[in-house]
Symmetry: C2
């Protein structure tokens, strides 16, 4: 294993232990079993280690979604549905997810939300563009619309930030579906999959 990976593993362990938020560069280096100077060879700051760890965690999830999606030949609307399904069913390390919602790990949590938005936006943007070519969507700015539609999903519906009831989540998803149908000039109820059977979707 490379030293870089050892450093990331060390921070990940501190995350499990709940001390990642307050850990110093020295603490991370000690945990990794290397000298502080060794850590600085790979990372300029604790910030950079956090960045790299979040990237490693989530790039696997995103890459899985991208690969599965690339193997599918389907219309745009079906692809959006599939992307949502792949994303929800790809295993995210449960302990990491819980740790991310601890207040002391808020910085890492924020980075993960930013990373997910940045990584998913081009994928969703491409699907929207495909929908334009299929003449099912009308959309001048697929990339920006992708970012805007992902913002409420990643931020407003984050269970660590807000504590909505299932019914409240469903109402928000219904409003989002209707906004998307109207702004993309998509068929009525074509985005109903976002909110239909929400409770069952959640249990998957």
């Amino acid at each position: 294993m490379s030293k870089r990976e050892m450093i990331l593993d060390a921070l990940q362990e501190l995350l499990y232990e709940g001390t990642a938020g307050t850990a110093s560069v020295q603490d991370i280096a000690t945990k990794a079993g290397i000298a502080k100077g060794g850590l600085y060879y790979y990372f300029k700051s604790k910030e950079e280690v956090l960045d790299a760890l979040v990237e490693r965690q989530y790039s696997n999830v995103i890459e899985t979604c991208r690969t599965k999606l690339a193997a599918v030949d389907a219309p745009a609307l079906e692809k959006i549905k599939l992307l949502l399904y792949f994303y929800r069913s790809t295993e995210v390390d449960r302990a990491i997810d819980v740790a991310l919602h601890e207040p002391q790990n808020a910085a890492i949590h924020q980075k993960s939300m930013v990373f997910i938005l940045r990584q998913l936006s081009p994928i969703v943007g491409e699907i929207l563009q495909q929908g334009v070519e299929e003449k099912i969507f009308t959309c001048d700015q697929p990339e920006q619309i992708a970012e805007i539609l992902l913002s409420p999903i990643i931020f407003l519906l984050d269970p660590g930030l807000f504590t909505w009831t299932d019914q409240e989540v469903q109402l928000k998803l219904k409003a989002l579906a209707q906004m998307l149908e109207a702004s993309l000039q998509a068929p009525i109820n074509s985005f109903a999959f976002l909110y239909e059977n929400w409770t069952q979707q959640k249990l998957k």
Copy 2:
């Protein structure tokens, strides 16, 4: 000054000093010049002190917007424009704003984003409802639409989370304006004020 306010002032000072993220309950009590037990009389945890401080900081800004808006008799579209103007021109303590974007204060930053969304949504929702009554908007779920439209503004356009160029921000606001016009069935370009003269707006 009440002890409660003294405790909030203490945490605010730690925020200025950049040590709020790692400060213990004892550190906050010491800074406030009171016993740890005294702090626990008002707050169950450091978390609760953070909550209260963010609430104090931002409730003033929101309250100012609400009061100014209540004094105005204007159509819904004009009120949304005014709300945006009031919000941008209400003085937020610059040092607090900078401190909120330090990684060690990420938990407080997240709480501020959640608080702003929760406080602004009903205000925007009421304006959307007024627009429905004026027959300028069509909207079944004004409250949810308000939350969805505020999500990209609060999350995606947060300069501490993302580093977009002015041109990128303008493109995102343009896409948001077009989504709102389409989904509210509002007149074309009625939300153009969101992105027009963006650079000048920013300088205000």
